[in-house]
Amino acid sequence: MVPQPLRIRSTSCLTVIAIGAALIHLSACTRSEEAPAPQAAAFRVTRVDVGKAIGADKKVTAPSDAFKPNDTIYASVSSEGAAPNVALSARWTFEDGQLVNEATQNIAPSGPAVTEFHISKPDGWPAGKYKLEVSANGKPAGGAQFTVAD
């Protein structure tokens, strides 16, 4: 015959184990709901810089907003995220809104990327203010303004 106190201890022990198991299960369920499977980040432009030169990583080495008429003007567009086909466009305009140049690169980034655009004018840039607008798949994604002066 089992003494009564021992049976009580055994019963409460089982209860504690059951509650513990339930809590662990509950916590596991909660955790799995809070942490969905990792997904590839959507493509987005993180930075647009203009300058007179770029490095091997396609980034502008020294961002600048002041240029000389004979400079080649570089723009580096930093982005993150993955996409099978992004039409990245650079539209350069003069101060009166006149189109200077427009170019598009179709890229398929799988993570952080840098895309560079550059323009030059053999007979020199007219002095004035210029604007660069960058778009991704037709949607505005950033830009920069700069000046050309003698």
């Binding site: 396609k58 006149q98 140049n101 840098v114 550059h118 004018k121």
Partner: protein
Amino acid sequence: MADEKPKPNFGNVQSGGSSTAPAAPASPTATSPSATPAPPRTYTVVAGDSLSKIAKKMYGDANKWQAIFEANRDTVKNPDLIHPGQVLKIPDA
């Protein structure tokens, strides 16, 4: 009468570009219908290019060079004369 500054000529601007990301397939892939139309495709001429080479690259068919020529009549007067850095509009195939 105000003195109107003559508009600068940007017709000889040369452009180019490159990316650390791989190039997407030249022909646009089927995508879900979208309200915003895709921007027009362009191609920047590099040394050694001809319209038929570009047509082959963009459409997989060199004989479609005339479509590119027609789309760029405003800047390309002679189909045998295109310049590195020149940006060409690439019409849909």
